[in-house]
Symmetry: C2
Subunit: 502 residues, 2 copies
């Protein structure tokens, strides 16, 4: 086999070069958010552009294609892991070469332009300032869909970047059913009336908050030998290797819980990145197959674990070590209610679990129509407000709180939003199954999170990119994507807090 | 000119790609020292190797050579700055292509091996563990000298990497004269007897130290919009652009002054990097022409400014804001004496100004003989001890405190050491001239450092790489490299402190 073995090593080297360059790119971005002095912005832009071009060149190298074809034709002789790696690399390669370099350049320019006009439009709440640049982005996305190809809707081609194996046909049905059920819950809870937070109007030392987040990350199994936490304006997770996974958090001196839940959310992403098989390290198998499944992990730790009653029991004594006088008289019940407070909020990123998916369904419908050419950009504000009114029963005060609130469209990330809701649904489906073998309430209350993390490692993390998200969930739960476990989860939680029997 | 202009733009783009990739490399290294969790080491090594190979490829690209030849032939049509840039780029290119890729690979491997055996050898104080790997390094350095070519000594070819325009002929004479004078001063001061430090045995809060270093950096003109300070085990300065210059410092809870002088030293390097002409940004002209001139700037701020009596007057009230009880009864005179204490010390990096150059002269003589083939590696420990005895009058307790103390040889940095002494000499020469227009004692005492920084900007920083270090100093002082201003500086300072009239 000599020659063939050598060629396979060369192929692995090519693929590992791409991953290493991507890690370099990610470090440049991480540093930009976490450390870079303002003066560094311009040259950082040049550095990012240069590395991005180099990545694209390697990803579309015809010699890489030749090697992949060669081994795809001989895949029966490859070990199963190598076969999976070649298959996934071939998938990436074939998608990359469909997008010409010229399009990549135009898209980068359009994004940069749209980003700046979006910032201005949002600050002035004036959609017209964003309209032309958004049109350019959408035209490029539609062009991309044509380049990539699709069976039914051009939007399907875009979804695939974020959620392989999912399409508009599936989402239309799923989101239709989800909306009906979730709207009912949301309306019922809202009618119970809104209580004031007992945590607002106080000051929470951010150094203490920082220490609490580190303790929680330690508790859930984040490995600080293979990662770190920093602060940034927008929390995120990145990695340069399974042994170098970095998260950021945002600490709010006026509110105790934003830092805690931000760290739990990013910590959930990080456990996934740290949990791939060592043997897959440095290959595309040590990757999540989709954004939705990644989001299921962050939302699992943030919401299903973090916003549960047993977690409040575990958390309160820790909080009291740092804020004893501020928390006098506070019980786990009060915290449980606080962190699950439901009230009208136009802003998606601040939404409670009761309404979150409704925000996504709204965006999904608008995006799909835009990409399918059924809605023109100038009609977005009106369409947004109509949909919002029908879902939430009131109107956003202005477009800054409406259709201008998210960065995603300025970034050209059409097809991204559905992943958030898929993450919610996956997390509930996976939890249902987990509960059949683990008494998670008891584990959470005792702060014994490692068996939970290990269960996820075994069933989710270790799979890496061998399966698509839908198949991972099918294998775990024995059923396809479904909204029912999530609805059951919401009914249980909010029924308990707001004393509702459904 | 159309076509030619386009070709020139393409050339500038090629050169700017090299600089951008070098900035990426520097960020990977900075992050490794400052932030990287231990687990990231292996993949960081791969990333550094990949980027280093890419840099080498761009630096030796024959198309770059063609463009450079084209414009060198037409240099009379270029603007002066463009002409200087092409000349310097050609110099770099011609040196790069003399070194085959195979040598680069072998050298990288040998360095990595030698580094590890040096760490072990030093920890066990057993030179034999390092010997074989050091021999390999030296053979490769001798090979490199042959590849690069030289007129008199192969060591000249290596010096050129650090100090263009300086050779063994010059250094032999300079160091001979310097040794005679500096030894006299050192012996005289040592005979005055050693006083105990009044600052030892106390504890100095590192958070407060950190704030003091930031205030000092601000005072000397470090621009935090275009840079930052962090902590690391070994302090260093790096930059990714003239608007993103980063330094690190090391704070010692047992000693107040190590962090302060470390920050002043690196701050001096940083002022240089932040002080290049804006117009030269992104070209090789925004670079120091040598290590020696760079070191003159760090040593200027650390020693000539920082260890001066007026600086003690300026510093003490600041220190007392943070450490009032610890510093009760302390006067500027006491601090001045403390930070200029002379006592026998085998370790170069801890040496006082009185003996520092003697440590360098010792290393210079050994290096030169090694590269010229006049000394074999196995004889290093004996040779070191003999030279040390003759220079310092006593023997190091073991090789860890002797020939194994520095990392430079394990790194393959032969020809590097002389730059430290050249930096000392340059700094004194430049200061003599500066004093003819600025009353620096008065400015220092008042903490008004900006006129001093601006003087250096005008005379040193702005030159960039247009001239070699020797020519910069000649232009400022009207005379060639000389040891006399430095000797005069030492005599003045130590005469004042130790009450000696020479």
């Amino acid at each position: 086999m000599g020659n063939q073995e050598e060629r396979f090593l060369k192929l692995k080297e090519r693929l590992s070069e791409i991953l290493n360059l991507r890690a370099v790119f990610a470090l440049l971005q991480w540093d930009e958010e976490v450390n870079m002095p303002p003066g560094g912005a311009e040259s950082r832009g040049q550095q990012l552009k240069l590395i991005a071009e180099m990545i694209h060149k390697l990803e579309t190298d015809p010699l890489l294609g030749d090697d992949l074809v060669y081994f795809i034709e001989r895949q029966e002789y490859l070990a199963p892991d190598d076969r999976a790696m070649v298959r996934e690399a071939m998938y990436d390669y074939q998608r990359s070469i469909k997008i010409p370099e010229q399009w990549v350049g135009k898209f980068a320019q359009a994004r940069s332009k749209a980003y700046h006009s979006w910032v201005e439009a949002r600050s002035k709440s004036d959609f017209s300032l964003f309209q032309t640049d958004l049109e350019a982005i959408i035209n490029l996305c539609r062009e991309k869909a044509e380049l990539l190809g699709y069976a039914n809707s051009p939007y399907d081609a875009l979804i695939e970047d974020f959620e392989r194996g999912v399409d508009t046909k599936l989402l239309d049905k799923l989101f239709y059913e989800l909306e009906i059920e979730q709207s009912k819950i949301y309306q019922t809870i809202l009618q119970r009336g809104i209580e004031k937070s007992v945590f607002e109007g106080k000051s929470w030392d951010t150094e203490k908050q920082w220490e609490i987040t580190l303790r929680l990350l330690n508790a859930i199994g984040f490995d600080f030998n293979s990662g770190r936490q920093d602060r940034s304006v927008h929390p995120f997770t990145t990695n340069f290797d399974i042994y170098d996974v970095r998260i950021t958090t945002r600490l709010n001196p006026d509110y105790l819980f934003s830092g805690i839940f931000s760290s739990l959310h990013e910590g959930g992403h990080a456990l996934y990145e740290q949990g791939f098989r060592k043997e897959d390290r440095g290959t595309c198998l040590a990757q999540a197959p989709s954004l939705g499944i990644h989001e299921s992990q962050s939302r699992f730790w943030e919401n299903i674990i973090g916003r549960s009653y047993p977690f409040c029991k575990f958390l309160l004594p820790i909080l009291k070590e740092y804020f004893s006088s501020e928390l006098e008289g506070i019980t786990p019940e009060i915290i449980y209610k606080e962190i699950n407070r439901v009230f009208p909020n136009c802003i998606r990123v601040e939404a409670d679990e009761c309404s979150y998916n409704l925000h996504i369904i709204l965006r999904y419908r608008i995006e799909k129509d835009l990409i399918e050419g059924k809605l023109s950009v100038s009609d977005i504000p009106e369409c947004w407000n109509d949909l919002f009114k029908s879902l939430f029963g009131y109107l956003p005060p202005n477009d800054a709180y409406g259709c201008l609130q998210d960065i995603h469209w300025a970034h050209g990330s059409f097809g991204y939003f559905p992943s958030y809701t898929l993450g919610n649904l996956f997390s509930a489906q996976i939890t249902e199954k987990m509960k059949s073998t683990l008494d998670i309430s008891e584990l959470i209350a005792q702060g014994d999170f490692i068996p939970i993390r290990d269960w996820l490692k075994e069933h989710v993390y270790k799979v890496g990119r061998r399966q698509c998200s839908r198949d991972i969930v099918k294998d775990i739960c024995g059923s396809d994507i479904s909204h029912q476990p999530y609805i059951a989860y919401l009914k249980h939680k909010y029924g308990e807090i707001y004393k509702v029997s459904w």
